[in-house]
Symmetry: C2
C-alpha cells in the first residue's frame, strides 16, 4: 500500500477543510459551532444519532432556480413538444406560452403564487398534470435523467448538473460526517430529482421528499406498473413541508435550510425541546456570480430577523458559488 492509497482512505471532510468554500465569519462559525455542539465536541452531551436530521430545500437552496427553475425548463420542453404535435393546444395555456416562448408568463405565475394568488399556477398545473398522464414512473425518471445530463443553464454557461452550490454540498457532507441524516424537502418534483440526488448531494433516492402527482398501480402478475395520474397528490411547499417531513421521517429536524417563503414553515418546525437547532435562509444577493433577488422571500427574510434564523449571504459568506 503506497502513500496515495492511504491518503484516499481518509475521510474527505476533516476539521481543517470543512466548509472550505465558505468565507470565515459569523455565518460559517455559527454552522461549525452548531455541528460541534450536536456532536458533543463542546461541553454539552451529543444529540442521539437518530435525532440528527437535516432537511434542505432544493431550488434556490442547493441549486440555481433562476431565470426559471430547472424542472420548469424540463416541463416547458414537454409542453412545446405537445403543442408541436397537436396545434389545438397552441391556443390554450400553458401550451400557448410554452409554444410562443413566453417565459415571463411562467415567472409571473410563480411570483403570483408566492404572493398568495394561485390562479395562474393552477392553469399551469393543469398543463403539467396532462403532460405526464399515464406515463410510468420508470419512463418519467428516464426522461428527467436524460434531460438533466444533457442540458445546460441558459445564461451561466455551465451544465445544469454543475449548477449546485458548492458551499451547500460541503455542508451536506460535513453534516453526514458528523452523524446527520440528510434529506431533500423540495417544492419540486420528487421523482424529477431522484435520479441525480445521490450523485449531486449524497442524498439517496429514499431520502428525497418533494411534490408529486397521485400515482396508480396496475398489477399484471408480472411486476405491474405504477403510472402518473392527472391529479396532484400534494405540493410540497409551505405548511405541507412539515407535514411531509413528519410523514416520511417522523421527527422534527435539527437543521433546516431554505431560501423562500415556501420554506418558512419547515424552518419554523425545526425545533426540539432539549436540543440545539439551526435554521438557514440563503439570501440571493450576488448578481455577479449568480442572481440577486428577494421576490418570494420577503416574508421569510422578515421572519429570519424576528426568530433568530441565520441568513446566508451568497455574496459575503461564500468564497466560491459553484
Amino acid at each position: 500500500m503506497d502513500a496515495d492509497t492511504v491518503a484516499e482512505d481518509r475521510p474527505t471532510t476533516t476539521s481543517t477543510d470543512a466548509l472550505a468554500s465558505w468565507r470565515e465569519g459569523p455565518t460559517r462559525s455559527a454552522v461549525l459551532d452548531f455541528v460541534a455542539r450536536v456532536s458533543g465536541e463542546g461541553p454539552t452531551p451529543p444529540v442521539p444519532l437518530e435525532e440528527r436530521i437535516a432537511v434542505f430545500d432544493n431550488d434556490g437552496t442547493l441549486w440555481c432556480e433562476k431565470p426559471l427553475p430547472i424542472q420548469l425548463d424540463f416541463i416547458l420542453r414537454r409542453l412545446v413538444d405537445m403543442a408541436e404535435a397537436d396545434p389545438a393546444l397552441r391556443d390554450r395555456q400553458p401550451w400557448k406560452a410554452a409554444h410562443e416562448r413566453d417565459h415571463p408568463w411562467f415567472g409571473a405565475a410563480m411570483d403570483a403564487h408566492y404572493a398568495g394568488d394561485d390562479r395562474m399556477l393552477k392553469e399551469f398545473a393543469g398543463g403539467v398534470l396532462a403532460a405526464y398522464d399515464g406515463m410510468s414512473v420508470e419512463e418519467f425518471e428516464q426522461r428527467s435523467e436524460a434531460f438533466l445530463r444533457s442540458t445546460s443553464h441558459p445564461t451561466l454557461g455551465r451544465p445544469y448538473l454543475g449548477c449546485t452550490y458548492r458551499p451547500m454540498v460541503e455542508l451536506l457532507d460535513h453534516l453526514t460526517a458528523h452523524g446527520f441524516t440528510t434529506y431533500i424537502v423540495s417544492g419540486g418534483g420528487r421523482d424529477f430529482m431522484r435520479p441525480v440526488s445521490d450523485e449531486l448531494y449524497r442524498v439517496p433516492r429514499e431520502r428525497v421528499i418533494g411534490s408529486t402527482v397521485a400515482l396508480a398501480y396496475a398489477g399484471d402478475g408480472n411486476g405491474g406498473t405504477i403510472t402518473h395520474t392527472p391529479v396532484l397528490d400534494y405540493l410540497d411547499d409551505g405548511p405541507q413541508k412539515p407535514v411531509r417531513i413528519w410523514s416520511r421521517i417522523g421527527r422534527r429536524p435539527l437543521l433546516a435550510a431554505g431560501n423562500s417563503n415556501g420554506d418558512s414553515a419547515m424552518l419554523d418546525f425545526t425545533q426540539h425541546a432539549a436540543s440545539p437547532s439551526l435554521r438557514l435562509l440563503v439570501l440571493h444577493d450576488d448578481g455577479e456570480r449568480e442572481f440577486a433577488y428577494t421576490a418570494g422571500s420577503e416574508a421569510a427574510l422578515e421572519q429570519a430577523g424576528r426568530d433568530g434564523w441565520t441568513v446566508v449571504s451568497m455574496k459575503d459568506d461564500w468564497a466560491t458559488v459553484f
Copy 2:
C-alpha cells in the same frame, strides 16, 4: 473481560442459528437460499446493497391480528370513552357497537372490506376520523405507546408487545445481517406503530409505511404543531401498497411478506428485471398455537399457487410462534 461479555458482543444472527425458530424444510430453505443468492454467497454476483429492500405487512404477518387487529382494540376503547362522555353518540355507529361491546360488527366490517364491500368500513372510518380530529401527532403517539405497553391480548394470555411472531423477527434480523433494509408496509396506522417498531422489529420510525389521516401544520414561530384532520389521506392497502412503497423508497423490493388479499399487489410489485425476488404469504393454519383462518386471504392464496409465491405454514414451518 469475562466469557459472558464476549458472548454478548457476538452478532445475534450467525449462519448456524439463522431462522432458529423455523423448522427445517423447503420453506426455510427457500428463504435461506434466496438471502444467500442475493448476498453473493452462491455462484451469481451479489445484488447491490441499495437494491436489497424487504417490505413486511404488519397485522397477521409480523404480529397477531385476531380476534381483532390490535389497533382496533385501541380505537374501540377510544370510541367507548367518547360514548361515555356523550350519550348522543350511543345511537350512532360505530360508537353504538363500541359502547355495546358488539365486536362482531367490526369483524363483519373487515370481512366485507376484504370481500370488496366498503360500506360498513366507511361508517366505521367516519368514527375513527372523528376520534382523533384535532389531536397533535405527539399526543396520538403517546396514547398509542401507552396502550401498547399496558394492554394484553384478550385470549392468548400475553401482552400485545409479546404477540409478534418470533420466526418473522428472526427473518427481519437475518435480512438486516445480509445488507437488506427492512420496511413495514402496513394497512394499519403508520403513527400507531412508530413508537414500538424499532424495539419490536429493529425497523426505525422513518421506515414505517402505513395508513394515515391527512395532517395539518399550524406554525406559531415556536416550532408549531402538526394535528390530525378528520380526512383520510390514504389507506395503505391493496394497490396503494406499491404506490406508497414507490413514494417512500423509490425502488421495487426484492422481498415482500404478507398474509392477506390486501398484500397481493405489494407481492406482485416485488420483482426486478435482473435480480432474484421472494414473495412470502403467511398462512394462518395453527388454531392451537395462534388462529386458523383464511377469510380475507382466499384470492392471495390462489395467486400464490399461480405465481410461485412461497406459502409459510405457521403449523408446519414454525417450531415456535411467539
